[in-house]
C-alpha cells in the first residue's frame, strides 16, 4: 500500500490538452434527485441519451460527444451481512457534456452523509466544473480538474456537516439527524469522471478506484488509512493521535484518515481528496472499477480485474450469439415485477449492445454483480458496492 501512496502523493500524470467541454450544470441540478442508493439499477439509457442530446450545445463539445458516446457501465450495491445500508452509488453518464460521473460513497455512523453524497456530489462537481471552465484561463487540464475536485469535496463536506440545519423533509436515516450522534457520521467518497481524453479520480477515505489497463491492475486511489505513513504524519502534525484499537483508528475511533463529514474529528480527519488525472490510452485501457471496502477487504485488485475482464470478454463473445443468459429466470422476472426497472433482462442487454449508445450495460452489470457475489461468498461483513465502467470505446457504425 505504501508504494501506491507514494505514487499518488508524488503527483500524477497529466496532460495540458485542452478542448474538453464543460457544459452547463445548473439546469441539471434539480433533476433526478431520486435517491437511488441501496439498489442495483439499470438506469434507463434512453434518459441518458436524451440528456446528452439536450445538452449538446456547441460545436467543439458536440464533436467530442459524437466521438465519445457514454461508456458502458454496471452498478451494484447490496446490504450483504450488515443490517444497515450505508453505501451509496452514483452513475451519471453525460453529467457534463461529454463527461461521465461515477461515485461510490461508503457511509459510517449513519447513512445520511453517504446518501447526500450520492444525491449531490455530481451536481456539485458539475457546478464547479462549469465555474472553472467559465472563469479560468488555466491551461492545464489536470490542474483544473484537481481544483474542481478539491472545491467540490470541500463543498460536499460543508453540506454534509451543515445539512442538519436545513429544514427539509424529515430525515429517514437511523440517527434522524440528532446531535450529537449526527456529528459522528461521515462517508468515504471515491469519484471518477470519465472524459473524452482523461480519467479523473478523486478519493477521500478507504473506498477505491482501480484501472485495468494493458492487462495490469492499477490503483488510481490510495486508501486513506490512519497508519498510512504520510497520513499518520499529517495527523500527528495536526496534534492528533492514531490508536490501534481494532485496527488503526484516529483517536481510537475512525478507521480512516479522511472522510466527508465526521466534524468531531476535524482537523485530524480531513475531507481533502487526493486527485489523479490520467490520460486515457485507447487500446490499453480496459475498464475501471470503483468499490467500497466491502469488496476490497476480501478481493484483491488483481482478482477483481481478472473477474471483470473475463465477464466483459464473455459478454463480447455472447453478444455475437443469440443466447439468453437469463432464460432460467422465473416467469415473474421475465415479465417484469414490482422492481421491474431493475431487471437486466436479455432485451436490455441487446438494446444497449446494438445501438452503440452508452449506459447501463449487461456485461458490466454482470461483472459488478459477480464481484459482489464473490465478496459475499468470501464472507465480507460489510455493504458491498461496485461500479464497473468499460473504457473500450465503441465504434459507431
Amino acid at each position: 500500500m505504501e508504494e501506491i501512496c507514494c505514487e499518488v502523493a508524488a503527483g500524477s500524470s497529466s496532460s495540458d490538452r485542452k478542448g474538453e467541454g464543460v457544459g452547463d450544470a445548473g439546469s441539471r441540478a434539480a433533476r433526478r434527485r431520486r435517491m437511488e442508493i441501496r439498489r442495483l439499477r439499470v438506469v434507463a439509457e434512453e434518459q441518458a441519451a436524451k440528456r446528452r442530446r439536450l445538452e449538446g450545445d456547441d460545436g467543439e463539445e458536440e464533436e467530442d460527444a459524437v466521438r465519445d458516446p457514454a461508456p458502458r457501465y454496471g452498478v451494484t450495491s447490496v446490504c450483504g451481512r450488515r443490517r444497515d445500508m450505508e453505501d451509496a452509488v452514483t452513475a451519471r453518464p453525460g453529467f457534463i457534456h461529454g463527461h461521465h460521473f461515477f461515485g461510490v460513497f461508503d457511509g459510517h455512523g449513519c447513512s445520511h452523509v453517504a446518501t447526500s453524497c450520492g444525491v449531490r456530489m455530481h451536481e456539485i462537481v458539475a457546478e464547479e466544473a462549469a465555474a472553472a471552465a467559465a472563469g479560468s484561463s488555466a491551461s492545464d487540464e489536470a490542474a483544473r480538474w484537481r481544483d474542481v475536485m478539491e472545491k467540490s469535496y470541500a463543498r460536499m463536506d460543508a453540506e454534509a456537516v451543515g445539512s442538519r440545519d436545513t429544514t427539509g423533509p424529515a430525515p429517514t436515516c437511523r440517527c434522524e439527524m440528532q446531535m450529537p450522534k449526527c456529528d459522528h457520521v461521515g462517508s468515504t467518497a471515491v469519484v471518477a469522471v470519465v472524459g473524452p481524453r482523461h480519467l479523473v479520480v478523486a478519493n477521500c477515505g478507504d473506498s477505491r478506484a482501480v484501472l485495468c489497463s494493458g492487462g495490469a491492475a492499477i490503483p488510481l486511489s490510495a486508501d486513506h488509512k490512519p497508519d498510512r505513513p504520510d497520513e499518520l504524519e499529517r495527523i500527528h502534525a495536526a496534534g492528533g493521535r492514531v490508536i490501534f484499537w481494532d485496527g488503526a483508528r484516529v483517536f481510537g475511533m475512525l478507521a480512516m484518515s479522511r472522510a466527508i463529514g465526521d466534524s468531531y474529528l476535524k482537523p485530524f480527519v480531513i475531507s481533502d481528496p487526493e486527485v489523479r488525472v490520467v490520460e486515457r490510452k485507447d487500446g490499453e485501457d480496459e475498464f475501471l472499477i470503483l468499490a467500497s471496502d466491502g469488496l476490497w477487504d476480501v478481493v484483491s485488485n488483481e482478482v477483481a480485474c481478472k473477474v471483470v475482464r473475463a465477464c466483459l470478454r464473455n459478454g463480447a463473445v455472447r453478444r455475437g450469439e443469440r443466447s439468453s443468459p437469463t432464460s432460467n429466470l422465473s416467469p415473474r422476472q421475465s415479465s417484469g415485477s414490482s422492481s421491474g426497472d431493475e431487471e437486466a433482462g436479455p432485451s436490455d442487454g441487446a438494446a444497449s449492445d446494438s445501438d452503440g449508445e452508452g449506459g447501463e450495460d449487461k456485461a458490466c452489470a454482470e461483472a459488478a454483480i459477480l464481484l459482489t457475489k464473490l465478496a459475499l461468498a468470501r464472507q465480507t461483513a460489510d455493504n458491498v458496492s461496485v461500479v464497473v465502467v468499460n473504457l473500450r470505446r465503441r465504434r459507431r457504425s
Binding site: R313, S330, A344, L370
Partner: protein
Amino acid sequence: MDMERGAACYRQWIAGQEAGLAELEAALANAGATDAELRAVVERCMRGYQDYVAGRRAVSPHDGTAFIAPPWCTAFERSVLWLGGCRPTVAIRLLYNLSGEGLEAQLEELINGLGPMGPLPVGSMGITPGQMVLVTDLHRRTLLQENVLSDRLATLHEDIADQPLFPIVRQRAAPAAQPRAGGGDCDGPVGPPGGAGRGAVDAEVDAAFNSYRAAMAQLVAEADDLRMATARAMATEILTPRQAVEMLAAAKQLHLSVRDWSCRAEGAQPQPNGPRVVPANGTSAAARRNP
C-alpha cells in the same frame, strides 16, 4: 395458554419438517423432475409452514407470550428466536451463502480462460445477476419491516414498567410493606390468598397481563406473516422451482441440525414440563437423525 398443546404443535411441526426435508431431497435427487412437479413440492412446503403457524395461533389466539421463548425449544433454539421463529432476514442470509457455493471453482475456470464461451459463473445453485437484484430488493424491504416489528417489541418490553401493570404493582405494594413470608417467586402465592386459583392472580392483574399477552400475540402473528411473505417471495417469485426446492431443503436442514445438535448438547429432549430424557415414541428429531 395450554402448554401441552403448544408443545404437541411444535413436535408435530418438527416431524413435518423432517418429512418435508425428505420430500425436498427426493425432489432434488430426481434430475428429471419437471418444474410443475418441483413447484408442487415447494407449494406443499409452504403450506406446511402456513399450517404450523395457523395451528399454533389456534392453540393460543390471545396469548403470544409462550411463543417468545417456548419451553419446548432447547435453550439454544430459544436464544436465536425472534418473535416466535427465525428472523425473516435469515432466509436472505441463507441465500447469500447458498449463492456463493461453488462460485470460487467456477471463477477459477473463467479466469484461467477455459474458453470465453462458457457461461458466467453463477455458483452451483445458479443464482443469476437478475435474481441477485431481486434478492437485494427483498432484503431491503424485509429489513425495514423486521426493524419495525423489533421496535414494537422493544416498546412492549418497556410497557411492562408502565400502564396498566405498574400502577397495580404500586397499589398492591403499599399496604404490603410488612415482611412477606412466602417470598416473591412464582411458587408462592402472589395475590391475596384464596384468589382465582392456578394461572390467575386476580381479575385486575389478569386484565393487565392479558393486554400484554394479546399485544404479544399480535406481534407474533405479524412476525409470522413477514416470515411467510419473505419465504414465499423468495421461493415462488425470485427463485426457479429447483432453486426454491434447494433453498427450502437447506433451510430445513439448518433448522433440524440446530435443534438436533442443541438437544444433544443440552443432554435432554426438551419437553413442555421441563427437561426430560427420552421421548416415549422415539420419533423425535434427535432419535431419528442420530441412531
